[in-house]
């Protein structure tokens, strides 16, 4: 199988039952697999809540490794909107031309380095630095901070031998605590300072709330962006014509990015806690159990997408849920989209072909399902 082929792990279960089951640390999950049902459940925040015990809606659950509530992600309406109104303008800055110019310079630097190497490992030497440097830009913190974050590796909670590494999480938390104290003493133009100066219902955000937003910013956009970038590189390597086509028709870039996000679905699923006995796809789910909104399955739903298992770079109508759906849609989506759009634009102009030298797949194990989510490593050569 080609490196860039990602099969649909949920096809059979989605067609036959509409749901899947998995056990996550003795807190089982009913996975919702159909596009329409996923969107329906995502919209129904009263029955399927986000504001549960911190860490519980994440799969694998992070209940055992954190107490800090991630904001606005683990808050339900109407408070959710209050927080979202504070952070949205900040996270929408990637729509501005100036912001895009700055981001372009960062990504040009990463691509130039790849072009000058004989071979490059994309996950750790390309996507990780790209994501980390772009994050300095999003937080409006010094560019050099990225070096520290790069040293932490590709996931803030996961390490080589564990899906949930508390020691690793604590490094991030200590770092964030210090940054918040610094911003209290010396306010600047960064996200910490903006949050510390903000109010909810007439009260300044607490340090814990600021920390909750920052943890979300670090963890939410980390492996997702890294996978999206790495997987896209594998696609272009094995479909060299597509870079040529994009070069000729740069107006396609937008559709191409949305399609790559649909196909690769960088985040497989997100959980919710059920607040009352109810049904999904005619299967009973009990109060205080968990469901998951399986974006990856919804994005391959044959009832919605023609040729769901093919990358159709110029797919016009593409109601994918790669960035989630409804109130809790991805806060970093605008930033992620700009990263991918700029990356495609630069690659199509600067790179003629990419050769895959070695690929080691990263397979997510979800009990009954095995899903390829990206690569542990992908070594390639870029040709000018």
């Amino acid at each position: 199988m080609k490196a860039s082929e990602f099969s649909d792990a949920f096809e059979e279960a989605r067609q036959e039952k509409g749901i899947g089951k998995m056990n996550d640390q003795n807190d089982p999950v009913t996975m919702v697999l159909r596009h329409k049902e996923v969107r329906k459940c995502a919209h129904n925040w009263k029955t399927f809540q986000s504001g549960a015990e911190p860490g519980r809606i994440v799969i694998p659950s992070e209940v055992n490794i954190r107490d800090t509530r991630q904001i606005p992600f683990e808050v339900d309406p109407p408070m959710h909107k209050t927080f979202r109104d504070i952070v949205d303008p900040w996270f929408k800055r990637p729509l501005e031309a100036d912001y895009q110019n700055g981001l372009t310079k960062i990504i040009e630097g990463v691509v130039a380095k790849a072009l000058n190497s004989n071979s490059i490992e994309i996950v750790s030497e390309f996507s990780l630095p790209l994501q980390s440097r772009a994050l300095t830009y999003l937080l409006n913190t010094p560019y050099s901070d990225a070096d520290l974050w790069i040293s932490w590796g590709t996931h803030v909670f996961r390490s080589e031998d564990s899906d949930l590494d508390a020691g690793k999480a604590n490094i991030l938390y200590d770092y964030i605590d210090k940054e918040i104290d610094r911003a209290i003493e010396n306010p600047s133009e960064d996200l910490y300072s903006m949050l510390l100066a903000s109010e909810v219902n007439g009260k300044k955000l607490t340090k814990e709330e600021v920390k909750g937003v920052i943890i979300l910013t670090f963890s939410g956009g980390r492996d997702t962006v890294i996978n999206a970038v790495t997987n896209s590189i594998s696609y272009f390597a094995e479909h060299p014509k597509s870079l040529e086509i994009i070069k000729e028709k740069p107006e396609m870039i937008n559709n191409a990015v949305e399609e790559l996000v649909r196909y690769f679905s960088p985040l497989t699923q997100m959980g919710r806690v059920v607040t009352e006995d109810t049904h999904v796809c005619e299967h009973a789910v009990k109060a205080d159990t968990r469901i998951s909104l399986c974006w990856a399955s919804a994005n391959r739903d044959e009832k919605v997408f023609e040729n769901p298992n093919e990358v159709v770079l110029d797919r016009k109508i593409n109601p994918h849920v790669g960035f989630g759906f409804s109130h809790h849609n991805c806060l970093g989506a605008t930033h992620a989209r700009q990263i991918l759009r700029i990356l495609l634009s630069i690659l199509s102009k600067e790179v003629t072909s990419i050769e895959v030298l070695e690929a080691k797949e990263n397979i997510e194990n979800l009990d009954n399902f095995e899903r390829k989510i990206g690569f542990d490593s992908l070594t390639v050569k870029f040709n000018k």
């Binding site: 969107r39 016009k316 593409n318 109601p319 960035f323 849609n329 989209r337």
Partner: protein
């Protein structure tokens, strides 16, 4: 050439002219507040939600099934809702008024 009017949520009315592209693109190019067009017009983000003025409905026509599916789960949806990325700018839209949902 079509003259199209947007009324934003703070009740500002802006009339702009366009010949091609989608209504979302026209709005974004003219910095109409409340229309972001995050997904670039592929019907995935709903950040281009508008209400068609009742007497303009005849000119805009009906939403497609996928567009309606998308709007079905938006709290702000009403019978005049459209995703402006799914509306093409043409002479037919001359004089149409859109209220921005957000």
């Amino acid at each position: 050439m079509a003259k199209i009017t947007f009324i934003t949520s703070d009740n500002e009315s802006v009339t702009v002219e366009g010949t091609s592209g989608s209504v979302m693109e026209l709005a974004v190019n003219n910095n109409i507040k409340g229309i972001d067009g995050d997904c670039g017009g592929v019907c995935s983000c709903a950040t281009c939600h508008v209400y068609v003025a009742p007497d303009s409905v005849a000119k805009t026509g009906e939403a497609s099934e996928l567009e309606n599916d998308m709007l079905e789960f938006d709290d702000l949806t009403n019978e005049y809702s459209r995703l402006s990325c799914q509306l093409q700018v043409s002479e037919d839209l001359d004089g149409v008024i859109f209220k921005v949902a957000k």
